[in-house]
Symmetry: C5
């Protein structure tokens, strides 16, 4: 899974019928302290995440292993909101 | 999913029989404002996208979860045309 | 899918039994004009492609969705020979 | 599989129900001597690994082939703790 | 598939039960002449490869399509030992 920050939202009228009602959020991968970098990607939200949250995303066929994403054409899913990250014995991120 | 811009089209006479009648478009991944960069890739269109559209593409086995791509040897599908993108509370892209 | 140029061939005596009789070609990914770059990769040919051809390759489980590659341990397949590529309204590649 | 070092832990209250009770560790890919580099990623632990361990992780659908990860939305699993690595006839890493 | 050189071996006592008895080798991707570069990765051997051999590896779910790797949590498999590589009409690698 990737550690990623939710940075925005997408709106689409024309889409595969299985995507109707799905919330597609824009993310950036982060380092272990929650600092984002690199190109954005889009994932389906299954945990009511919001802009600014640090989350975990799962990719590929694993993204279809939730009740919300089963059999849908999506390759990335937000399956967890991160409360805290600890690296080498120190808390490096805590949700505010 | 990746945010990508449709930049062109492909023509192939010789192809796997399951690809007959499928529209294969050339795309470039973009940033969250729709600015493309990097190498092109090709995806099957399932939403009647055209050159210049900003779209979402799903990769891998997820690309086969539409009625059009089921059981076909394709690893990328356009499953949504983007109307608008909002980042940090601002609209950064709106379809013209 | 990736746009790629066939640059060579591989010969292997010792291989998984499901690969016997399969043609494994060496490719390089190209840009939209057919200019190759980057590290080579190897794909199973299903369309009688030859050295010099510009082709499309599909990766991952999608590579096993042809009659020739079903259930075989291959993660890349040539499923189309490109006749022409059009970008922004101009033909940028035409098979010679 | 990737050679990776366990560098930390994640805590999440809000997550997909299939992830309850799963231990999600933070890792960095390493070279063959166990020196980490690059962005962190997160994997499910199935072998009781701890911070500082050098491990192997499997990605994608392969990450769901253990009793602990079956049918769960995870795309990376720790499936082995490395005792030693030998390169070109020399032991380059040994677990302390 | 990737062209890769076997550079070493791994030893693990603690591992997923499906991996018992499997040989996990360390590899580096190479160019078309067999020159390795980049970070190492680990693959299951199914063809009795040894250190120094140039091989092909298949990744993802395709890595589980051999008798040895079926249903196991591995995402890379050595499925062929390369005898020779020919690029642009010239033999650029021949097994010694």
């Amino acid at each position: 899974m990737l550690i990623a920050k939710v940075i925005g939202t997408t709106v689409s009228t024309i889409k595969d019928e299985k995507l109707v009602g799905r919330k597609l959020l824009i993310l950036r991968q982060t380092d272990e302290k929650g600092e984002p970098s690199g190109k954005p990607y889009v994932a389906v939200d299954t945990v009511d995440a919001g802009v600014g949250d640090l989350v975990l995303t799962a990719a590929g066929s694993s993204a279809r292993q939730t009740n919300i994403t089963k059999d849908t054409p999506v390759d990335s899913v937000i399956m967890s909101i991160i409360d805290s990250l600890e690296v080498d014995g120190k808390i490096v991120f805590r949700k505010s």
